[in-house]
């Protein structure tokens, strides 16, 4: 074959491949359109049957049972349906679905479905509720798919049975769960349901600064005052992110015992810590620290100035007096502007 012929063959193969691909896509679209119509009709049937369950129609169970063999479409419909109802109605429908053997069917899809199916199945599983489901979700944490693992952990947390804080830290440490914002949310739920275990976990030596900060954040949001000493201790950690999380946590707990720690944090080297401390002082209403906030009105970092002004505005008469004094002080133009804006925003 001459080189010229070869080039022509390559060209024709490319053009032929493109045309075949196009034809294939159009044919596939026709098939998908037909399947999509069927699927929409099935979903409608499922929603009708679920509504029938709520009205106590016995035949609704029979209408749902064929779909247990095709759990994906049922899973999608459950997730749609779950958003529409709450309380006893939801529980009644979910009990009926559990009794149909849906848990086993969904678990099978978690193991063998496509990526999309695995994730939808674990989310639908979580929606079913009940002790059996919790056990199935715990099994799903062992999935190879990180998204399924996270969805399973989140499902457990939403069902009021999150893994312990220490276990969650293990998952992150081993790379089984990524330290995402969803993970942080689950950690908050875990610590809120077992603050003592959260405190204990804080003593672990294997925590990265990021994990320590997440745990401190969760302790701060838990509302557990016994966390104040631990948070105060963490406010002098060498890592600025850890210190910031600790100070924010103290701000959320709003406990007067944190005043000394917050006073130190107001003059921290790292501006996020100073900013968090100013916010915390305002949130906790620690009027006796007002005089320490005033100098922060001309801090080099805008966020610190803003938080200090905002906090002074929250500290009642004393804070407001300091703001008015700063606003009248021409010798400190940056503080003056910060105070003026704080007064204007607060007004």
């Amino acid at each position: 074959m001459s080189s010229l012929t070869l080039i022509w063959v390559v060209a024709l193969v490319l053009i032929g491949a493109a045309l075949t691909w196009m034809t294939g896509l159009i044919v596939a679209r026709f098939i998908k359109e037909s399947r999509s119509n069927t699927r929409s009709a099935e979903r409608k049937l499922i929603i009708q049957a679920l509504s029938g369950l709520l009205r106590g129609q016995a035949e609704a169970v029979g209408a749902l049972s064929p779909f247990v063999r095709r759990p994906q479409v049922l899973a999608e419909a459950i997730l749609d349906f779950q958003g529409l109802i709450r309380g006893a109605d939801q529980e009644r429908a979910m009990v009926a679905l559990r009794n149909l053997g849906l848990i086993e069917a969904l678990e099978e899809r978690i193991l063998h479905g496509s990526r999309d199916e695995r994730l939808t199945s674990v989310e639908a599983l979580a929606a079913l509720g009940g002790e059996e489901v919790k056990a199935a979700l715990r099994r799903a944490i062992r999935s190879k798919d990180p998204n399924v693992r996270m969805a399973a952990v989140k499902g457990l947390a939403d069902a009021g049975a999150p893994p312990t804080p220490s276990r969650l830290l293990d998952y992150a440490g081993s790379g089984e769960l990524a330290p995402s914002r969803i993970y942080a949310e689950v950690m908050r739920q875990a610590v809120a349901s077992a603050p003592a275990e959260g405190l204990q976990a804080l003593g672990r030596q294997d925590l990265t600064p990021l994990m320590r900060a997440m745990l401190l954040d969760a302790l701060g949001r838990s509302g557990a005052y016994e966390a104040v000493p631990a948070l105060a201790a963490a406010a002098s950690d060498p890592d600025p992110d850890v210190r910031t999380a600790a100070v924010r946590g103290l701000g959320r707990l709003q406990h007067p015992a944190a005043a000394e720690t917050l006073a130190k944090a107001l003059v921290d080297q790292a501006w996020p810590v100073r900013s968090a401390a100013a916010e915390a002082v305002g949130a906790a209403g620690l009027g006796r620290l007002a005089s320490m906030l005033a100098p922060l009105l001309d801090d080099p970092e805008w966020w610190v100035r803003f938080r200090a002004g905002d906090a002074l505005g929250r500290l009642g008469k004393a804070g407001r007096g300091l703001l008015e004094a700063a606003a009248a002080d021409d010798a400190r133009p940056i503080a003056q502007r910060a105070a003026e804006r704080a007064l204007a925003e607060g007004a």
Partner: protein
């Protein structure tokens, strides 16, 4: 006559060299596109898009960080109220809309004041990113999510900087005032910030052509194929650019552009690089390159992500005159960024972004149009002089076109397999026709426009040129 023979031989060799250079560039570009297609296909198969908005809400709403939507407006009095209403109706747990009236000469500010019953407010802000003087801030008691900034004119980059200064959210979203966002755009685009909060600094989203779509109250309610051929060709082009190229480059951490029509950024990261740069028409690309440079220099792990789902719709030009200005401007913007950061070109200090990202701009944007135009002019000339073999020329052209069609069909296949937003098989067939047609004339003329952009860059031309839009209200 040995001198004549030597001269003829030299001409033939020169002609052959030019021809081979053109062919090699074409094949290199096509090979690059093929690589992008494979990367994009892999990315889509590993993280298929979520079709149901309710699922997105369930997965991300609780952990979603607050976002400030930044909408710069210049002389948008006719459309701004509808655009803002549409933005305020987005589905996202915590967001605010900062509209920046960039010194409009029309009634943009007044119509906003009247429509939303705005009154002047004070807000503490820092001039961390450079911007023109802010004349006033406006808010409404019944619309707590809305803040309107009135400032002196300074251009889009300047307006965005003002919005960043005013924002108090950790994430800011840049957009055009006339962009149409999907109702769940923020929820879709925020996913990388939720899943990888430590590293993610920016997220780009897929922009699609709204021509031919049914639009109601600032939303695309029914996707359609444009009736205008030029817009139809751009539909294929956008699919290739967003669904293939940008997704592929984000996959290997070399994405150098996030469209100005829609992009999410970590606010502090934008401030760390000084905000948007003035004096360039490619401020969107420039910002992303600055972020890469900053984090590479600090050796801090970071991520510029991309979401393949369509999050934003834009009106494509339907006349050659407007399209040519737009493309010349885009090209000028790319060249401005490329040469402003020339120290990054093929510089291993910047890792893949210097070698692959900037290497790609060099081959495709800087050299590509010049070499291709050389080819279009010189090859026929050499053929007329009888120094090139026409049979080889036709065969190689056929290979180039074949490649081009495969790539375009591939991009369409990605859309069809993973997103399937076009309504029926007929629209798919129409777009496939466009995928073939664009290789015969459209691509070539695009190159001329890009060359014009190169000329504007070399002669230091400024400004955006007149961008005429039909407006969405006239869409079918």
């Amino acid at each position: 006559m040995p001198e004549l023979e030597t001269l003829a031989l030299a001409v033939v060799r020169f002609a052959e060299t030019i021809a081979w250079a053109v062919i090699a560039t074409g094949l290199a570009q096509n090979a690059l596109y093929l690589y992008q297609l494979l990367l994009a296909a892999r990315a889509l198969s590993q993280a298929p898009p979520v079709n149901q908005a309710a699922l997105l809400w369930r997965r991300y709403a609780e952990a979603a960080p607050p976002i400030t939507l930044m909408a710069p407006a210049y002389n948008e009095a006719l459309t701004i109220v509808e655009s803002v209403r549409s933005l305020l109706a987005l589905q996202y747990p915590h967001f605010e809309v900062v509209v920046v009236n960039d010194g409009s000469k029309d009634e943009t500010l007044q119509v906003l004041i009247d429509a939303f019953e705005l009154h002047t407010v004070e807000r503490h802000y820092d001039l961390a990113a450079p911007c023109q003087r802010i004349r006033g801030l406006y808010a409404a008691a019944n619309q707590p999510r809305l803040l309107v900034v009135d400032k002196e004119n300074g251009g889009k980059a300047d307006a965005l900087n003002a919005a960043i200064n005013l924002s108090r959210s950790p994430i800011v979203c840049s957009m055009d005032a006339d962009s149409l966002l999907e109702v769940d755009a923020l929820l879709r685009a925020v996913a990388p910030f939720v899943e990888d909060p430590e590293r993610t600094v920016a997220v780009g989203g897929t922009i699609r052509i709204a021509n031919g779509c049914k639009i109601s109250f600032g939303r695309v309610v029914e996707v359609g194929v444009p009736r205008n051929m030029l817009a139809r060709l751009q539909t294929i082009e956008y699919l290739r650019a967003f669904l293939m190229a940008r997704l592929a480059w984000s996959r290997i951490s070399t994405l150098t552009i996030i469209s100005g029509a829609f992009g999410l950024f970590r606010r502090q990261a934008v401030l760390d690089v000084g905000g948007y740069s003035h004096g360039t028409v490619g401020e969107d690309m420039e910002l992303v390159v600055k972020l890469h440079k900053h984090y590479r220099r600090l050796r801090k792990p970071y991520r510029v992500a991309f979401t393949p789902e369509p999050v934003c719709w834009t009106e494509a030009p339907e006349t050659m005159a407007v399209l040519s200005r737009q493309r010349a401007r885009w090209h000028r913007g790319a060249l401005e960024t490329f040469f402003r950061h020339r120290d990054m070109i093929l510089n291993p200090r910047y890792g893949r972004i210097g070698v692959v990202g900037f290497g790609h701009i060099l081959v495709v944007d800087v050299l590509g149009p010049i070499i291709e135009i050389f080819g279009y002019v010189l090859i026929p000339a050499f053929w007329l002089l009888g120094v090139l073999d026409i049979e080889y020329l036709w065969a190689l052209l056929a290979v180039t076109f074949g490649f081009g069609i495969v790539i375009s069909v591939g991009a369409l296949a990605l859309e069809e397999t993973e997103l399937r937003r076009f309504p029926n098989a007929r629209s798919l067939a129409v777009l496939m026709g466009a995928a073939i047609l664009e290789n015969f004339g459209y691509r070539q003329i695009n190159n001329f426009w890009r060359l014009r952009g190169t000329w504007q860059f070399l002669t230091g031309a400024q400004g955006w040129g007149k961008m005429t839009r039909k407006g969405f209200s006239s869409q079918p």
